[in-house]
Symmetry: C2
């Protein structure tokens, strides 16, 4: 087995556009480092990218893909400080995927995208900790006013961001209502920290939130779906509540819920983790917060399933199946595929 294999995308389309092939490692340019990759965290945004749902500027195929990995620093580009050859690091998703893609046995990434791996984390966990916690950090922590007894509603809660957001909201002392389409993932979400789970195929969200909160509604909703469900979220919202939209899982248009927005002084806000990762001060606060909790085990990534690098196409099919709850990881070091491994949070 070559140690120089990387995954490249040969066009936009199904998982089969991803090909694993040996490519001689590139030298890092100034400000970059080359990593020997140990594990890769897969994210739904990469499946969207692969399907062509993000604008691709000046892309020539084949192109690399992937933003989240753990690995060991192998070569430093000119001018890199603060990191040394041999350091065990994670990448945080704050760089150009087309040059810096991390799917593979080696990757060249900006040194600025590296964070040290907190003590006690495995290489699998270190590849699966950043996208979801950084995403959840902005609306939950950086916002600054959530605490004991505030009710947070997390929709599509089985996703890795959803699972991470449940943990983080509980850390802050909030009560968490999680939503999931079918009842299959209900118990996992309760075990993962949700105080209440609403099964949206069977239950009316507005009624259930009103019941749970004694009519007060939620203070914050984290919603990657949008679409027609936005109206129900606005109905379920409390006075002066905020609805954070951070994705577009629904393909259907969302009506703007003007009347509840006016009546309850609601805020609907678009958010992506770039608000945190591209602002040095916010990013530093976020990394400190998340690293501290990872080291203490009060945040611990939920791993749904681990694949081998050879199975990258299968792993991308699995992302799109919607069956996962938590993170899908490629163990670049591991020869064997361990299907169905679920680590439950220590917290």
């Amino acid at each position: 087995m070559s140690a120089d294999r990387i995954v490249r995308m040969y066009g936009v389309g199904g998982p089969e556009v991803l090909r694993l092939e040996a490519v001689a490692p590139e030298a890092p340019r100034p400000g970059e480092v080359r990593l020997r990759v140990r594990a890769i965290g897969l994210n739904n945004s990469e499946a969207q990218y692969r399907r062509g749902e993000y604008p691709l500027r000046d892309t020539t195929f084949p192109t690399r893909i992937g933003r989240e990995c753990s690995g060991v620093v192998e070569v430093l580009g000119d001018g890199v400080t603060g990191v040394a050859v041999g350091d065990f690091v994670s990448t945080i998703p704050a760089f150009d995927i087309q040059r810096g893609g991390v799917y593979g046995e080696w990757a060249v990434v900006p040194a600025a995208a590296l964070v040290p791996v907190p003590a006690g984390l495995s290489h699998i966990e270190a590849a699966a900790s950043w996208q979801q916690y950084l995403t959840a950090y902005g609306p939950l922590v950086e916002r600054g006013d959530l605490g004991q007894g505030d009710v947070v509603l997390i929709t599509a809660a089985s996703s890795s961001v959803g699972r991470g957001a449940i943990q983080m909201a509980r850390l802050l002392g909030c009560g968490v209502i999680a939503t999931t389409r079918g009842r299959a993932k209900r118990d996992l979400l309760l075990a993962g920290g949700a105080n209440h789970v609403i099964v949206t195929e069977e239950e009316d969200l507005t009624t259930r939130v009103a019941d749970i909160t004694g009519g007060k509604g939620f203070k914050l909703a984290l919603d990657p779906i949008a679409g027609p469900g936005l109206a129900g979220l606005a109905e379920a919202a409390g006075q002066s509540a905020t609805i954070v939209e951070y994705g577009q899982l629904s393909r259907d248009p969302a009506p703007f819920p003007l009347l509840p927005v006016l009546r309850k002084h609601l805020t609907i806000r678009g958010y992506t983790l770039w608000e945190i990762t591209l602002d040095p001060a916010r990013r530093e606060r976020a990394v400190q917060f998340i690293s501290g909790h990872l080291a203490r085990g009060t945040l611990r990534p939920v791993i749904d399933r681990v694949f081998r690098l050879d199975d990258i196409v299968e792993a991308h099919h699995y992302i799109e199946s919607g069956r996962q709850t938590g993170k899908i990881v490629i163990d670049v070091e591991g020869g064997e595929s361990e299907s169905g491994v679920t680590l439950s949070p220590r917290a």
Copy 2:
């Protein structure tokens, strides 16, 4: 002419449901005062109320209407402090219209809704200063981060709130882009402080905002319209901009502009002046800010037209005509109707 005439609403409907009739003045209850009304500020929200567009809880007709007036304190209810018989005061719109309606020669209102009239204001201006400046204060001043060079977009800018918001945004050092449907009111808006006016029947809002701002977009939009135009506002918005919705002038549904909201991290927020008037600390800050500027003449209400109390039905027809720009006032003291009086800002 009796001095005890008040306007009462005999049902929901056209302006004719308003009737002027002699009714013996009521005694104020504890915490209330009775005013001898000198002038009344009319607001579009009262026309909406009259048409039945607000939920009417437990209303028995006839019922009073109106929230904004200037007058002299005539009788104090038990327990009222901080105000004396003979004081010249304005009401701020922060009380139950069904008991406290001010259309008429006398009114009974909560003492907490009174503010002293700043030196130099006429009784007409004192009845026309609070609804629009309190409404504009929340998004422009209380928000706390607008200043020199920030671009504020004010839609439906010919309304009294629009005219007040133009003045207030300029006070803060902002650049103001005002919108108006037809070109008739364009020059008035420029004279009233707008740096640029977009005539929406003739010009494309997104293109014009991009031209004016060098592609940067606006930082804040104040929009009482909503409807399909929300999409254009989101397109014209700058990175991390806020769109404040404070009305529902459009009868058509608004689509939620998810893609620009996500791409630019936009915030869309529902707002009413109750956020300011029902919060004692915010209200106190707002009253201090507005009173100070009224006394110095750096805020001065734009009066579109003054009617006599006998002409209340005609005045409500005029509200609905959409021809006004600025405030419509009833001069309760004046015998004569002065049509078409427009006071331009001193600033």
